[in-house]
Point group: C2
Chain length 401, copies 2
């Protein structure tokens, strides 16, 4: 497996571009388009938020036909809580792109991200689209990735390649997300492309596998959005024999997609709003996976744990207090905590000044792992969380102004 440049346009047959259509203030790029030269199978996963945005409603409907050709995404406006007008606007976006590409509207998918509750400025999108269609190019992945950013400080791209059944197969991708990041589904948009020939059910299964181990394992602020979407479009141009679940090369393809999703998820975490640290929370020794997941989530979302991480304060008592309210049965005398492998708590109590001194060093690292051993069983779960800083508050207190 080898990483490449090129992001979402690294696989064969993908074009992309981005323009400033005037949805965002100050002339920043805010409209992105990704197109495959050929239609192909598409897989998707969406937010479980009960108030999904209009583009999510539209994409779910289009995904029933399982074929994709293009994805149009605007930033600066989420087109959420916009009622029937919002849905009509999303439909129009798909229709306009389909017309420009001579494609069927149902093969065009739509994404929106930004402020909730305001109608899309459709006249600006209509004006921007012709330019965007003209700017589509083989090296346009970066422009598209830039145009889907909101509070993101960094462009998030990935491309990775491997030989499958004698053919070079590439997976590319881009993502946006910095706030409203939490499992199910890590509150963001991520788009993946591949030139693999693959049956749609195998693609959907691979995507679910990759997302469960990546985007569904990161938490910045515990909030999930109305717009979370992950799509993966495959055009078959690598020429490999069509992959199906269990066929030769399927595992290799899954590794590519897993890698791409994990890389994008970590980029989202590291670029989280105000984030100075990314910390892995690993819970082991749980009675069940659900218990492990629950304990990891409570630790990963505790404001007190996250502010202590920001302050580089090895206040492990806050982790204990968080585990204690996870709503799972505990035996205090069996609980252990370690930081990057250094034991800090054993049998539910602290290991004293020497351990605290080592802890004080570890919490200064930019990335480290907190391992919680519940001492009850063999199940485990891991999440990545971030610290909670002044900048998180600054960014979110003034998001709309």
């Amino acid at each position: 497996m080898k990483t490449l440049r090129g992001g979402i346009t690294a696989p064969l047959g993908f074009l992309a571009g981005g323009v400033a259509a005037g949805i965002k203030k100050r002339g920043l790029p805010d409209l992105a388009l990704v197109v495959s030269e050929r239609p192909g199978p598409i897989a998707g996963l969406f937010t479980r938020n009960q108030l999904p945005a209009a583009p999510v409603l539209l994409d779910r409907r289009h995904l029933r036909y399982r074929r994709g050709r293009a994805v149009i995404v605007n930033s600066g406006n989420a087109n959420a809580c916009t009622g029937s007008r919002g849905l009509a606007d999303a439909e129009e976006m798909a229709r306009l792109v389909a017309r420009g590409l001579h494609a069927r509207p149902r093969t065009v998918f739509v994404g929106s991200t930004g402020v909730i509750g305001q109608p899309l400025p459709m006249s600006r999108i209509r004006r921007g689209l012709p330019t965007l269609l003209q700017r589509l190019r083989r090296s346009g992945g970066r422009d598209a990735a830039r145009a889907i950013m909101t509070t993101d400080r960094r462009i998030k791209e990935v491309a990775v390649q491997d030989r499958i059944a004698g053919h070079l197969v590439t997976v590319g991708g881009m993502a946006k997300g910095a706030g409203m990041i939490h499992p199910d589904m890590a509150t963001m948009l991520a788009y993946l492309s591949t030139d693999a020939a693959i049956a749609q059910p195998a693609l959907q299964q691979s995507l679910r596998h990759a997302v469960n181990r990546s985007f569904n394992c990161i938490s910045v602020d515990g909030d999930t959005s109305t717009n979370d979407t992950v799509l993966c479009l495959a055009n078959g141009m690598a020429g490999n024999p069509t992959l199906r679940a269990g066929s030769p090369g399927f595992a290799a393809f899954r590794r590519l997609l897993d890698y791409a999703c994990h890389s994008l998820a970590m980029q989202v975490c590291r670029d989280g709003e105000g984030v100075t640290k990314v910390v892995q929370v690993l819970v082991v020794g749980a009675r069940s996976s659900a218990h492990a997941r629950r304990a990891a989530t409570v630790v990963a979302t505790s404001c007190l744990v996250k502010t202590a991480l920001f302050g580089e304060d090895g206040n492990w008592g806050r982790i204990m207090a968080a585990i204690g309210r996870a709503g799972i049965g505990l035996n205090p005398k069996r609980i252990g905590l370690s930081f990057d492998g250094v034991p800090i708590v054993k049998g539910g109590t602290g290991l004293g000044p020497a351990a605290e001194r080592r802890l004080a060093q570890i919490v200064r690292r930019r990335e480290f792992t907190i391992t919680v051993n519940l001492g009850q069983g063999r199940a485990r779960a891991q999440l990545w969380t971030t610290d909670l800083s002044y900048d998180y508050v600054r960014i979110n207190a003034s998001y709309r102004s």
Copy 2:
């Protein structure tokens, strides 16, 4: 009903005091004692955290005998995650006080609040106790209330009085709590006193009623602690006929206790770490109380909602997004939002620029109400939440240093 000065020593027969025993740095008061001249029935409620601190374990055991005489509380150290040594220390605190008062150890209750995971400096507590016993006085409520503070900026006291069956009955109280505030149980210590003559079961029932409507309805940061405790000690010195559930005067007594708990809970909220606003989240039109409570909790604990409150940004989309992830079935077209009675969202969509302008005024208020109407039924729930500010991060990033 009339409010008084005097806090926890306002009822007849209560003495209190506070000293600086050296548990906290910089010579701040950190040891408080409240004593009734006579033992009497005591009621208590404790954290549901599965890793309760040593004093909680001790108090639960003492509460089985249902009689109380005194409460000793230290701040600066939570005596949590301290194993068997922690329990022995809590037992010694009760024993030392009992010896000083010629009381039974099981009538002495212990509270601790502060850093988790460090052993109590028992030698300092032993040295401080004789002075504390000497300083007990009728007007010592304020000294005790000061000595239980940690990051609190303000002393939290209440006293309220009414005539019950021809006798003046008084309820007094004190509380500490500014961080780790969340329902079940609002992560704090609260101690109440009354001179009412009341049977223990009636006292326990009244306390549960009052706590469910006060301390269990406030959230500052979503974290519940290992030490939450509410105790109410009654000494019967008002001379009223003994109150029992349903007896004349019982409802009047409950009103006193409800008032005292609500007042202390609101003081805790207003003094929450870094708090600049206290906002009531009222969910109506839910299918069940559990649904209403769940929706209110998700809104009240969302970092994005809370930072928007701090920024005085009427970003109602974040409230919608929070409701959407509450895990309850929703019909987007029936959801309404109003702020202090002004409709902002109807049928799931925003009401436009005029409503937004009125909203911009309301979010500048120090206290206001957000009403969420789910449009599904008749159940409701309310919580009080606070904003999330730079100061919350500052206080919690450096708590131990």
